[in-house]
Symmetry: C2
Subunit: 252 residues, 2 copies
């Protein structure tokens, strides 16, 4: 029995998130039948994460066990021929027995993309948050350093998460201009429900002057553990799961 890790990417615009649901089109619900067709057997598919409706993934790990002797190249090609154009199979590798896309994950990087020119791009529909006013990326980057460290992130967690332990470690948080976009890039060992979107929403509220824009203000909200002190949940369509780590993370 082989254990295989596949890395996929998907445009979340047409999907009700990753996780299989009974009456909605999802990424897993679309991907699994194609995988089973290519392998010619049923599989138990494990995903690295859930993602919300409209959230994208540039790198998403799924694992499964199989008796198939299919080559890596054959598997990738077979998947890409049969998948819809908004889901792509990027690469695959054989892993040790017991490997699990979710439980073996050591961390993740999320990127949130904002176009702050106020004028939408016709090439980014559902892919980037449009912001009416220019952002000061350096100022936001300075404030975002207040998130870095090991904390109880209850203030940055939507109701509906069932997790009891809300302590997570953020290894790095960078806000930088990249071409005409501002990118928020955050690496952590794990993330609570809506955590990245609330962190970004809080920074955007700071940019609008609703909160002081400084790392001390972030820390004050963080230590309150009070969701009402944090900012709005930023819209789903600017968010990308950008990288899934399965090796020890080098902190910067």
């Amino acid at each position: 029995m082989r254990t295989i890790l596949l890395r996929i990417a998907y445009n979340g615009a047409r999907y009700h998130g990753y996780q299989v649901q009974a009456n909605a089109k999802t990424v897993a619900g679309t991907f699994q039948p194609v995988l089973e067709q290519v392998l010619n057997e049923k599989v138990q598919l494990k995903g690295c994460s859930r993602t919300d409706t409209g959230v994208h993934a540039s790198d998403f790990g799924v694992s499964f066990q199989t008796n198939s002797t299919i080559s890596h190249r054959g598997l990738i090609q077979g998947l890409n021929i049969n998948l819809p154009p908004d889901i792509a199979a990027k690469s695959c590798e054989d892993r040790e027995e017991g490997f699990h896309a979710r439980y073996s994950c050591t961390g993740k990087r999320y990127v949130y993309r904002v176009r702050d020119s106020g004028v939408r791009s016709p090439f980014e529909q559902d892919l980037v948050l449009l912001h009416k006013y220019p952002l000061d990326a350096a100022l936001l980057d300075a404030a975002a350093q207040g998130f870095v460290g090991r904390y109880d992130f209850s203030a940055f967690c939507s109701a509906g998460g069932s997790v009891e332990d809300r302590v997570r470690t953020i290894y790095s948080f960078q806000v930088a201009r990249r071409g005409e976009l501002v990118e928020f890039s955050v690496i952590g060992d794990g993330f609570l429900y809506n955590m990245v979107r609330i962190m970004v929403g809080t920074l955007l509220d700071m940019a609008r002057g609703k909160l002081p824009c400084a790392p001390e203000a972030v820390q004050s909200v963080l230590l309150s553990k009070n969701r009402n002190r944090a900012g709005a949940t930023a819209p789903a369509h600017g968010l990308y799961l950008d990288k899934v780590y399965y090796e020890p993370i080098e902190t910067q």
Copy 2:
């Protein structure tokens, strides 16, 4: 009477090109009613160019005359509220009497985008040509220099063009890697029907070894004025009208 130049951008995937057609959805056919609604008067809309089905524009000039006293800001906002998400109004300016989006144009830059990793991106559907094998951008750039200059480009013009004078000047042609894409960027005083797509298709045929990859080979095809000597017409969806010039062009 004011003469206004508007710069728009559009994703060509859903449109049968720019030019109004009787029974097909086009960019002009979609844009003009919205403009007339915002101005509350009929206009004669002049476009800088035709584009084929599926071709995109990052910068496309349209001009019209109007009695409206609308502000530039009001016009842009009114258009963007009412246009579909795959067409955007970028900027506008008042121009001198007699200005015409097509006849006042001094040149254009086209960019052709190719992903050569062999694996499609779910975020670029209809926006980038997928190429199965890696391209040598430096080698293609060297060959492309054979296009630079003033020539009769009959070998790089599809049948169906009605133009008699096929002499055009190419000011620059650059092929460069940009992230995971290879971009072909060409500036000229004008372009014949399908000219950019045939030039790029010829370079891609050179990359595949169907033709020698060198500026001398480009020159040999060019001087033959024989369309059959050039390569295939590259697909429409990788092509962008990237910039329209209305001032003297600084050649590099």
